[in-house]
């Protein structure tokens, strides 16, 4: 299982679009094209349905013959949504938490990864084992004690509660360590000779060199914070700090929500749109990250 070199290699040079060249004979091509269309449709249709429902007026939702194009098309569900939950605030909360959390997580993980890969010290491997071990523990084991800890720190319903515990993900450290291991020692040695200290090397040399890995971690981290549900559910439900998934879930739990699907779907659109856009823009990093984390095994 010694594939860390493969990881490093792949991280730096994943070729996309590389694939098997296939025959273009008539029948297979058509069948394949059909299959491709069906798949794209299956994947995208539910999102379109969500969008469509959100643009419908209340009385047109409960029809036994679904219509994809809303008629009439209206944005009232969005305004009603803004009445139910403090949309601006919630959106801001999600964005704030995700951005601060991502930046924080990257910094913390990068520093730790640096310590694990470029510095020699006693017990290095043992401590790293500790990190790996924590990655194996199911998240649910942590829910109760973390909740109590947050309570004891008096952080309930604060931004800290949403941001801080996630900063110390062992996964991030692990990912970055793998990437840093691939950077040759020569870079540092030259810098040392020039009189630089560890911090300068870290900041000016190592970090820039590991940009791909950092970008990948950033993407996973942002996604994690943006979509997080179980943990914020018990730690930050007050409207002033609630994030979009929480607000969305409380919306659908309300007494009237079961028939006001247009409002619920409007909430869904707003919750999912940013992350979809982020994905489309940063596809490269997502794909790279997933593939390389897979090969490691």
């Amino acid at each position: 299982m010694n594939h860390s070199n493969a990881v490093a290699g792949t991280m730096q040079s994943t070729k996309h679009g590389e694939g098997i060249v296939v025959s273009h004979n008539g029948f297979t091509s058509i069948a394949r094209a059909l299959l491709m269309i069906v798949i794209v449709a299956l994947m995208v249709l539910p999102f379109l349905w969500m969008l469509s429902t959100s643009l419908k007026e209340q009385q047109y939702i409960l029809k036994t013959t679904p219509e994809l194009i809303p008629n009439p098309l209206t944005f009232t569900s969005y305004t009603q949504l803004a009445d139910r939950i403090d949309l601006g605030r919630t959106f801001f909360n999600s964005l704030f938490v995700a951005l601060v959390g991502t930046v924080g997580q990257i910094l913390v993980a990068a520093m730790a990864a640096y310590a694990f890969s470029r510095l020699e010290w006693r017990g290095r491997n043992t401590v790293f084992m500790l990190y790996l071990a924590t990655m194996m523990v199911p998240a649910v084991v942590l829910v109760v004690p973390q909740f109590i800890l947050i309570r004891q720190l008096d952080w309930v319903n604060t931004y800290q509660a949403l941001i801080v515990p996630g900063l110390f993900s062992a996964f991030g450290t692990f990912l970055l360590r793998q990437a840093l291991l691939t950077i040759p020692k020569d870079f540092e040695e030259a810098a040392f000779v020039d009189g630089a200290n560890h911090f300068t090397i870290f900041w000016r040399i190592i970090l820039p060199l590991s940009r791909p890995a950092l970008a990948t971690l950033a993407v996973f981290s942002f996604m994690g914070y943006w979509n997080n549900y179980l943990y914020p559910l018990f730690v930050a439900r007050k409207e002033s700090v609630a994030t979009l998934p929480i607000a969305l879930a409380t919306l659908q739990a309300g007494p009237r929500a079961l028939t006001e699907w247009n409002i619920v779907m409007a909430g869904a659109v707003i919750t999912v749109l940013p992350i979809l856009v982020a994905y489309l823009l940063a596809q490269r990093w997502f794909v790279r990250g997933v593939i390389s984390s897979g090969i490691k095994g």
């Binding site: 590389e18 084991v141 999912v272």
Partner: protein
């Protein structure tokens, strides 16, 4: 020291809660009075608790239905995605869209789609002349609905994992096989599968570890006050319910540790079994 923030944070927010959770598992605590040490009583109760076994049963059923399906479908999708065809990148992008959406959003969209009277699925079935079931109202059908939703959400990710493995198989193998006159199916069986097996192993492990911890779909999708809502339970929902609705912190912690042990055993068994079927190039 560089390591300091990370290590301190890890110790405080992860290691300490893990240890605390283990300690809690041996206590009886409802948060209003002091915790009471009760030794193994939580675990004993657990083993006799009908709700636990029911939750375990539903979790296992889900895993058995979902994992093989997404395992195979994901592979099929990856094989498709691996072909150098124009427009394939659109397919790949679209399959990943569900992956980045949060489970809250996905649960709600599919809850609406599975609505027996107004949803797309039963409408489609009606067009085929089939009377659609009450999906998210009954536990059994709700389970199927969740499996389908989960496959939809995860298949893009799984396919991508496979894709990485597929693309790292050196072309020379296939070329050699072609020279020897091997057909497509033959080379798939003898080259692709074995060389892909490390990735398959990773996928299997990831799926099992993640899906024993299944939560959001089961918490959010069943229709309120329906039979599905009242009866469909999985292990993580039981932990959450015991902790936050019944206020049995000790029992909830014990449950979560049992889950941990379960996952650990299964992963361990997987690792043992890998010698049988996983082929590593370097060996």
């Amino acid at each position: 020291m560089f390591l300091a923030p990370s290590l301190i944070g890890l110790l405080v927010f992860i290691v300490y809660p893990i240890i605390a959770s283990l300690w809690l598992a041996f206590q009886d605590w409802n948060m209003l009075s002091a915790p009471k040490f009760i030794g193994l009583a939580n675990f004993q109760e657990l083993l006799q608790d009908q709700d636990f076994w029911r939750a375990l049963r539903y979790t296992l059923t889900f895993v058995v239905l979902y994992v093989p399906s997404v395992f195979v479908i994901g592979l099929g999708l990856a094989l498709l995605l691996n072909q150098k065809v124009r427009g394939m990148i659109i397919v790949r992008t679209s399959t990943f869209l569900p992956v980045v959406a949060s489970w809250v959003v996905v649960s709600l969209i599919w809850k609406w789609i599975f609505n027996p009277s107004y949803g797309l699925i039963n409408y489609g079935l009606a067009l085929l002349g089939i009377q659609g079931p009450d999906w998210l109202f009954q536990p059994q059908t709700a389970l199927y609905a969740m499996v389908i939703t989960s496959i939809w959400k995860d298949v893009g990710y799984i396919a991508l994992l496979y894709l990485g493995g597929l693309q790292s198989i050196s072309e020379t193998y296939y070329e050699a096989a072609q020279i020897d006159g091997a057909g497509r199916w033959r080379s798939f069986r003898s080259i692709t599968l074995p060389l892909l097996s490390p990735t398959m192993f990773f996928v299997a492990i990831t799926l099992l570890i993640n899906y024993f911890q299944l939560f959001e779909q089961v918490w959010l999708m069943p229709m309120t006050d329906s039979a599905a809502d009242r009866q469909l339970r999985v292990i993580v929902t039981e932990v959450v319910r015991n902790a936050f609705s019944y206020n049995r912190m000790g029992y909830a912690s014990a449950l979560s540790w049992v889950l941990f042990i379960l996952i650990f055993i299964i992963t361990f068994v997987q690792f043992r079994l890998q010698k049988r079927w996983v082929y590593y190039e370097s060996q």
